[in-house]
């Protein structure tokens, strides 16, 4: 029973986490190893091609994996997700003193987002704007004329990491208060946990912003296997059995940002599937179609 897992190296801690998990999983009798990818696109392709057994996928990577696998007739098995991957929400915020009172007031204004491939700070909030009757478009397309146009200013940090690197999201929040009027934006997009984080760390001082709109609930990362095997099943069992009381595991779980692994669910990805289609990020077969996206 051996299993090879792929994970994206969005931070140095990923090595610590998977080295630690590997030691623990091997001690449990599973012949486990992992490889690291510099971006999610190659990881998804390798998963579907069977070069790795399991991928630790971002939500966007799951959407692409599902589409690629469906086209090629490859069976995928959802294995697990973190407790912290369930029921997220993204928000669009404005300065507290902003004249923008409702989403429709954003017409003709500038909205800051995270990186082009960030589900939580770009794709889902822009989909929210569309659902509210607005037409977000890239800044390069020129100033939007009268009507429902909204100019999108992207902060492309860590492209290919599907928003795991929150630098772009933080830059978007900072742009709300840019000293230079040319750098200032009218609204910024972020996930609820970063709204709280940016408030606590002072990037967005208490009382400085107002939430204008929020997305429906959605789910985040999910671990996906290529097909099924006894090793894959055992990996799922072992992950679900990880106990936060275990002193050897707890620092790794803390680094990975969870208290417990949960059984997987696929009900939380519909909003992202829709957002991907609207933005033309991937086509129905899972090919990358986003303009200018080069992980």
């Amino acid at each position: 029973m051996n299993v090879l897992l792929g994970a994206v190296a969005y931070d140095q801690k990923v090595v610590t986490i998977w080295n630690g998990f590997r030691t623990w999983l091997r001690a449990c009798g599973l012949d486990f190893d992992y490889v690291l990818y510099s971006n999610y696109e190659r990881q998804v392709e390798d998963l579907v091609n069977g070069r790795i057994d399991v991928a630790w996928n971002s939500p966007l990577a799951w959407v692409r994996a599902r589409r690629l696998a469906a086209r090629r007739g490859v069976p995928l098995t959802p294995l697990t997700m973190r407790d912290t991957d369930c029921d997220l929400r993204s928000v669009i915020v404005v300065r507290s003193d902003s004249a923008v009172r409702s989403a429709s007031d954003l017409a003709g204004r500038i909205v800051a987002t995270g990186a082009v491939d960030s589900p939580q700070a770009t794709l889902l909030p822009l989909s929210l704007l569309r659902s509210l009757g607005l037409s977000p478009g890239p800044e390069a397309a020129g100033p939007c004329g009268p009507g429902a146009g909204v100019t999108v200013r992207r902060f492309d940090v860590g492209v290919g990491l599907h928003g795991d690197h929150i630098g772009g999201e933080r830059d978007a929040a900072r742009a709300l208060f840019a000293a230079d009027p040319a750098g200032r934006v009218d609204a910024a997009c972020m996930v609820d946990s970063n709204l709280l984080l940016f408030g606590r760390e002072g990037t967005l001082p208490a009382g400085s912003v107002r939430v204008l709109a929020q997305t429906p609930l959605y789910d985040h990362c999910t671990m996906t296997a290529h097909g099924a095997s006894p090793g894959i099943a055992r990996l799922g069992e072992l992950l679900l059995g990880m106990d936060y009381a275990d002193a050897a595991l707890r620092p790794l779980l803390d680094l990975e940002g969870l208290k417990e692994w949960r059984p997987p669910r696929l009900s939380g990805y519909a909003p992202l599937e829709r957002a991907v289609d609207e933005a033309g990020f991937y086509d129905a077969d899972g090919e990358v179609t986003a303009a200018g996206y080069r992980p």
Binding site: D83, T84, C86, D87, L88, R89, V91, V191, D192, S193, L195, L196, G199, R200, L204, A206, G207, R210, V211, Q214, D243, Y244, A245, A247, A248, R250, P251, G257, K259, E260
Partner: protein
């Protein structure tokens, strides 16, 4: 049902402390309703719950359902002994640097301290000795009257004082390094011993300072450092065991130094020399007290340890057999200091005084050895094997 009201406080400005405090009182599965006027309360609370291992219930008044994993961080935690009581017989390496009595979360790197058993480092008097040490720290700048009008010390006597100070500095440096080395390998669970050794090293640092300053007072060059003297001190530095190192340094070496420092103070030709040696002797008395009490403590727990101490003395004696031991110029300086002049009658008097000094040193060593538990005949034998270098 439990409830907490945050008024207008946001979770981005400390509100989560109130929520966490209320949740802590609940059992897993129990519910806490959270009310407040902050506009982002629901969003913040949902994000906080997710990150904290709780369930967010958003229908109606927002509520937190306590998760099972959150409290499990402390499932394997244990107290690092008793803060008020005596230290444990064995200090767990997994306690690391945690305070004695702290609730220690399982995990984290083990300490790897070499000395982690009480009997190998402890003495019941350590807490009182540390308190005394803390209360007796003195400032070299003000405790000595450096500006005292210099009595005209004859040039040869001054040379003798400078030679003695040069020798003292060398010995004080050994006496500083040894407790510092023991300290670095001591489990901090034995807090009072750690504190005492730290204050001991600080004492020696002051001794180095005042003896250096007195040596330089007359503007001349320092005296000599002999190979035999340094060889003697090196054997102390090389002693790997806590108790034998402490025994050789503090019981035999610093014990002997007590008489030496008092001798220099008694025969000092000037006020500063008398002051610096008197101040140092006061500190040394504490160092000796710990060394004697610790060796006695261990010997009382394990009689066979007397044999280990005996072997340490014999081993050191054998290692030094072929060295000169004491720097001859130091010995001569002691005689001249006590004589006060080169007059033959004065030298006879000085010679007698130094002979008496050595007898007092021997008597002191035998008394301390007997206190530790050596029979009188063995104490006499071991005292005679002590290094000629005094320390």
């Amino acid at each position: 049902m439990a409830a907490v009201d945050l008024a207008d406080l946001g979770l981005d400005e400390g509100g989560h402390l109130l929520v966490a405090r209320a949740v802590a009182a609940l059992a897993p599965g129990e519910r806490l309703t959270v009310t407040g006027r902050h506009p982002a309360l629901r969003l913040h609370l949902a994000a906080w719950c997710r990150a904290s291992g709780h369930q967010f219930a958003g229908d109606g008044t927002p509520a937190v359902v306590k998760g099972g994993a959150a409290d499990r961080r402390w499932a394997g935690a244990a107290r690092a002994g008793d803060a008020a009581g005596p230290p444990e017989a064995r200090a767990d390496q997994r306690w690391g640097l945690a305070a004695r009595g702290a609730l220690v979360e399982a995990g984290g790197p083990p300490l790897g301290a070499h000395w982690s058993q009480r009997e190998h480092v402890w003495a019941d008097i350590a807490p009182q000795l540390y308190a005394a040490a803390a209360a007796s720290q003195w400032d070299p700048a003000t405790a000595v009257d450096w500006a005292a009008p210099a009595v005209a010390v004859p040039a040869d006597i001054e040379r003798a004082v400078v030679q003695l100070m040069t020798y003292l500095v060398e010995n004080e440096q050994a006496a500083l390094v040894i407790p510092a080395r023991l300290l670095s390998q001591l489990h901090p669970h034995y807090r009072e011993v750690m504190q005492l050794l730290a204050s001991q090293a600080a004492d020696e640092a002051r001794h180095v300072e005042v003896f250096t300053r007195r040596a330089l007072a007359s503007g001349g060059p320092l005296g000599t450092s002999s190979a035999g003297g340094r060889a003697s001190l090196q054997t102390l530095l090389d002693e790997p065991d806590f108790t034998t190192a402490s025994f050789l340094l503090s019981v035999l070496g610093e014990g002997t130094f007590l008489d030496l420092l008092r001798f220099i103070a008694d025969h000092a030709p000037d006020r500063v020399t008398a002051d610096v040696t008197t101040l140092a002797a006061r500190d040394e008395a504490r160092h000796v007290a710990f060394g004697v009490s610790h060796a006695a403590h261990l010997a009382a727990c394990d009689r066979s340890y007397l044999g280990t101490l005996r072997q340490a003395v014999e081993r050191r004696h054998a290692a030094l057999q072929d060295t000169a031991g004491l720097n001859a110029e130091v010995f001569d300086s002691l005689v001249l200091l006590a004589a006060g002049s080169w007059a033959p009658a004065a030298i006879r008097h000085g010679w007698q005084a130094v002979r008496d000094l050595r007898a007092r040193m021997d008597e002191g060593r035998r008394r301390r050895l007997a206190y530790i538990g050596f029979p009188d005949d063995e104490a006499t034998e071991l005292s005679a094997l002590h290094t000629r270098n005094f320390m």
